[in-house]
């Protein structure tokens, strides 16, 4: 590969963060952001002058990543997760798992009820988040308060986007005024508008000073950073304006904000529902859920609460820090949630109520967890290998609950922050090799295990995936989340067992059972009818095996989850013996075992 290492010394200093440890630094300090946001003032005129040979160059790029350091960083990430193997990671970025700052800003700000957003973007940047994916995550037909300047070639090469943005602002304002609605307009930059140097700070100040302009830093920031920055920015920006000048004080020691829930967050509806229940149970008075369920006009409420609960580790914390009140992250698991409730009680001065709530929850909400634990299915927990690939909150939360509290064998855990950091190409190889019992992740992992034809059960734990989670009955967080997850995992175990039990396909087994050939998932039993009448039990168990064949057999069976090993062994043994017989060999060889392997679901 023609690498351009020479550039790295020129461009690296700002990119030289420590990416070796998880989680990477997330928060963008507010001063840095506002400096960046005001740096590009080349408006209408500035853009035209930036055309070179039909291409345009963005000049005001704040942060530069060296190619070498980027590649090195990805390798180091891969090494962290995959060990030695990770060092050999090919540089093939696969299946983007996390979006960028532009999407982050769109999802974080459009859920505010009196916001109208105009994105300065081409058609795809509008339709992908606003009418396509939102259908399959939040079940919304479209983001109704989102409009687009709809950048076309003429704006890219000649005109710039200012005219179209101002036109859209004017029309939205007229539309809302006609309805008598008071809305806050926010214009947001996209990757394309940033690339062509479109910046509307000055023109908006001039024509529509009431509208806000947010630079989403679409190239530099990932979706979480984008959400984090957008929430902080809106808070700070409002403070500078007349509507944000009021002195605000804390209402009472028990007022609580929840910060973070917004569109297109995995399972957020059920988790928010549970989080609210926990806050109230601990004696808190839920004051403001920001940005979800919030209004721009009500944002003073952010300062009125005594304690903030930050729903996700990925974003929202920077705003919580800015607010200057104590904050807690939303909890996972039985123990994690108990700690959260007691700590929240301590911060609010409602310790007794919090303790009483925990006690009551044990007898009610959490009782199924105790009962499942007492039962036989739990015996298999420690034999279940789990891979978790999710946003940091879920990756760490699931690891803690499933691994530390329930004792499942949690292996691969990947906290997704920056896009492509984890090297999906390696992950794809790794999952095929590791053969976990359960893979908790996104559509990407689901594809990887399907491609590799391994029988791992997939459980959703992260976007991207078409998965509507609007029901509040599927929480992963809190006490109810602990119960729901335990129930889900246990049912998945039953599924593993179902798949591996002998099954006879109707109509194919006239006379006697031919259990091996008739398994679902195996190929049609084309050879079976012509093969010799299969061995009865004694013939099978008495048939000789070479030592090597037995070794291969053992090695393969080791990879099968404990819960399924008996049936899998039976199937593999029978198939290997039958194959050997039909090849007229006197003993089972390793080749025979490997040959029949694909027929066996394991």
């Amino acid at each position: 590969m023609p690498k351009s290492d020479t550039f790295s010394t020129d461009f690296d200093p700002l990119a030289d963060e420590d990416f070796g440890s998880l989680p990477p630094k997330l928060a963008t300090p507010s001063n840095q952001r506002s400096k960046r946001a005001s740096s590009g003032l080349d408006d209408e005129i500035g853009f035209e002058s930036s055309i070179q040979n039909g291409f345009t160059r963005r000049r005001n790029v704040a942060k530069l990543d060296g190619e070498t350091s980027e590649r090195e960083r990805i390798r180091r990430m891969a090494e962290n997760v995959f060990g030695e193997e990770g060092l050999k990671a090919p540089n093939i970025p696969l299946d983007t798992p996390v979006s960028n700052g532009y999407w982050g800003a769109v999802f974080a700000l459009t859920c505010i009820k009196d916001v109208e957003m105009i994105v300065d973007a081409p058609v795809g940047c509008y339709s992908l988040p606003a009418t396509a994916t939102i259908n399959y995550t939040d079940a919304l037909p479209e983001l109704e308060n989102l409009a687009s300047s709809n950048i076309t070639e003429i704006e890219v090469t000649l005109d710039g986007t200012t005219r179209k943005v101002l036109d859209a602002v004017r029309r939205i304002k007229a539309r809302e005024a006609a309805k008598g609605h008071k809305k806050q307009l926010i214009v947001v930059s996209s990757q394309e508008s940033e690339l062509i140097g479109a910046d509307h700070v000055r023109s908006l100040q001039h024509k529509h000073p009431d509208a806000l302009y947010f630079t989403s830093h679409a190239f530099e920031e990932d979706e979480w950073q984008g959400r984090d920055a957008a929430l902080l920015w809106l808070y700070q920006e409002r403070k500078k304006r007349p509507e944000g000048q009021k002195e605000v004080s804390v209402k009472s020691p028990t007022t609580i904000n929840i910060i973070g829930p917004s569109y297109s967050c995995f399972n957020s509806y059920a988790d928010l529902h549970e989080l609210k229940r926990l806050v109230r149970g601990a004696g808190g008075e839920l004051h403001f859920v920001f940005p979800f369920e919030a209004a721009y006009a009500d944002m003073d409420r952010l300062d009125e609460s005594a304690v903030n609960v930050v729903m996700y580790r990925e974003f929202g914390e920077t705003l919580a820090k800015e607010l200057g009140k104590p904050y807690l992250f939303a909890p996972f698991g039985m123990q994690g949630t108990t700690k959260f409730i007691l700590e929240l009680g301590r911060l609010m001065g409602t310790e007794e109520q919090a303790k009483a709530f925990v006690k009551k929850e044990k007898k009610e909400t959490l009782l199924p967890l105790w009962d499942i634990w007492l039962g036989a299915p739990q015996d298999f927990y420690s034999t279940c290998k789990v891979a978790i690939i999710a946003n940091e909150s879920y990756a760490q939360g699931l690891k803690q609950f499933l691994g530390e509290e329930l004792g499942l064998a949690v292996g691969t855990v990947i906290s997704r922050q920056r896009s492509n950091d984890t090297n999906n190409y390696m992950l794809r190889n790794h999952l095929a090799k590791e053969r976990p019992t359960f893979v908790m992740g996104s559509m990407n992992e689901r594809i990887y295990i399907a491609e590799a034809n391994i029988p791992a059960k997939f459980l959703p734990a992260s976007l991207p995936i078409p998965l509507i989670t609007r029901s509040v009955g599927t929480p992963y967080m809190g006490y109810r989340g602990a119960v729901y997850l335990m129930q889900t995992i246990t049912n998945a175990l039953f599924d593993v067992l179902f798949d591996v039990l002998p099954r006879e396909r109707r109509g194919t087994a006239a006379g006697r059972s031919e259990s091996v050939a008739s398994q679902a998932g195996g190929p049609p039993a084309a050879t079976t009818p012509t093969a010799k009448p299969s061995a009865d039990l004694d013939e099978v168990s008495g048939f000789p095996w070479s030592a090597d064949a037995k070794a291969v057999f053992d090695q393969l069976i080791e990879k099968v989850p404990w819960v399924a090993r008996i049936s899998a062994s039976d199937k593999l043994r029978n198939a290997a013996v039958r194959e050997t017989r039909s090849n007229n060999l006197s003993e089972v060889t390793p080749q025979m075992v490997l040959k029949v392997l694909p027929q066996i679901m394991m």
Partner: protein, 448 residues
């Protein structure tokens, strides 16, 4: 810069609507999805999508849902590449690694808005590495305005390459063209039906594109006639034309459509007229018989999709007795739409190309249809009003529509939806107090 491809998208952009207001709510999927949909379904092809992270995330999402379960190689642009010119080197480097580790038969490199703007030089990519063909496809949304047209980009680029290969190997047909190729994503048995019908005229159906086998693309340039079953394959027409393949537009949909399509095919194939006349008449009669049995008389139907095949569906609905009150599509008017557009206009059916979402909303207000077949957002608006509505892309596009076998399935489907009228109304009534007068939703709340 891909002047040819960009020009074709430009016409609409430079022509303001009468109201002089541009669209603020797009009426198409991100265009690049079209090329992903075609390429991801080709076996032995690795798709490489170059763009900003947000674009890659969204396109990965929708194409893993709608196109195939195939991973997508997704090099994203970093800030550094915006100011330096080594983006091309980076993409080449990644392609080399893909070839080294996967050794695919073909790699399609699709470039989105941002690399197109910042100067990704697709023309500098190697044509071939080892056995792997590397095919560039430029699909910036500002230049290729719909995902339908991006399908055209994908197919035409592959045909261009296989044509060059055939020429280099001296394997072109030298004017000895034979048979029929059909272009357009249709129901799997539609080409089969078509093959049977044209075989009566002595015409062999060679291939149907898009196809999962790369070899099918090598077959298309050998056909005498290529039937553009969907109207937006202008680039593909141009490529095939360079081999002497003649395009046939429209499709055998409905009785009149079947008759004229088979007649036109006969003409292009230079077959004796009386025989063709007889066969065309007979096939059309079969369609007419089906249409007699499957009626939608008096149903007022609004068709507002973005797939580009809406005109054919409108013809079928009209012949089945429905009152088609509005047809809109996101593709542009062109040679491929000429016959169908004229046919619809002769029947005073309002027809709109390069529509805006706002146009559909206005039409919905004005027309008060019984049934809406449209994009997912217009569908939602209609359902809010208790009007039976479905998503064109899921329910109509790619379903059986050709010849006699193409009548009943879609008519039945429409009847089925209409039979649910009470369900749609009950739903609307139940949730009537949820939405305000403008049908604008209060933001979501998670109640407890």
């Amino acid at each position: 810069m891909p002047s040819e491809e960009l020009k074709s998208g430009r016409s609409i952009n430079l022509t303001p609507k009468e109201s002089s207001e541009c669209s603020m709510h797009s009426a198409t999927m991100c265009p690049a999805f079209g090329s992903l949909r075609v390429t991801m379904r080709i076996e032995g092809l690795v798709p490489v999508l170059v763009g900003a992270v947000g674009c890659l995330y969204g396109l990965d999402f929708v194409s893993h849902f709608y196109a195939s379960n195939k991973p997508i190689v997704s090099p994203s642009l970093t800030t550094r590449e915006l100011v330096e010119t080594d983006l091309t080197d980076k993409v080449i480097g990644i392609i080399k690694e893909v070839v080294e580790h996967e050794n695919p038969q073909m790699i399609a490199v699709m470039s989105l808005c941002t690399p197109e703007t910042s100067g990704l030089h697709l023309e500098l990519l190697p044509r071939k590495l080892g056995r792997t063909e590397i095919i560039p496809m430029r699909v910036p949304a500002y230049g290729v305005p719909t995902h339908a047209e991006a399908k055209d980009v994908a197919i035409s680029q592959i045909i261009k390459r296989v044509g060059e290969n055939m020429a280099a190997e001296g394997k072109t047909s030298d004017g000895q063209l034979d048979g029929l190729a059909v272009i357009g994503e249709v129901f799997p048995t539609d080409p089969v039906q078509l093959g049977v019908a044209v075989s009566r005229m002595g015409v062999r159906l060679r291939t149907a594109l898009p196809h999962k086998d790369i070899s099918a693309y090598y077959d298309a340039p050998k056909a005498k006639v290529a039937a553009m079953l969907h109207p937006f394959y202008d680039r593909t027409v141009k490529e095939l034309n360079s081999f002497g393949v003649q395009p046939l537009y429209s499709a055998p949909v409905g009785a009149e459509g079947t008759y004229s399509w088979l007649k036109n095919l006969g003409l292009l194939m230079q077959l004796p007229n009386p025989e063709i006349e007889a066969i065309a008449d007979e096939e059309a009669q079969k369609v007419a018989d089906e249409l007699d049995q499957n009626r939608l008389d008096g149903v007022k139907i609004m068709i507002a999709g973005y797939e580009g095949s809406e005109l054919l569906f409108a013809r079928l609905m009209h012949e089945a007795g429905a009152k088609v009150c509005y047809v809109s599509t996101s593709i542009k008017e062109g040679p491929g739409t000429k016959d169908d557009a004229a046919w619809l206009r002769r029947r005073n059916i309002p027809l709109l190309f390069r529509k805006r979402h706002e146009d559909d909303l206005e039409a919905l207000d004005e027309m008060a249809p019984d049934l809406v077949v449209g994009s997912s957002n217009i569908e939602a608006v209609a359902k809010r009003r208790g009007i039976p509505a479905v998503y064109y892309t899921n329910i109509v596009a790619g379903r059986p529509i050709l010849l006699a076998a193409g009548v009943r399935p879609l008519v039945d489907q429409m009847k089925l939806i209409l039979s649910q009228l009470n369900t749609y109304r009950n739903m609307r009534d139940f949730f009537a107090d949820v939405d305000d007068d403008d049908h604008v939703r209060e933001p979501l709340k998670v109640g407890i």
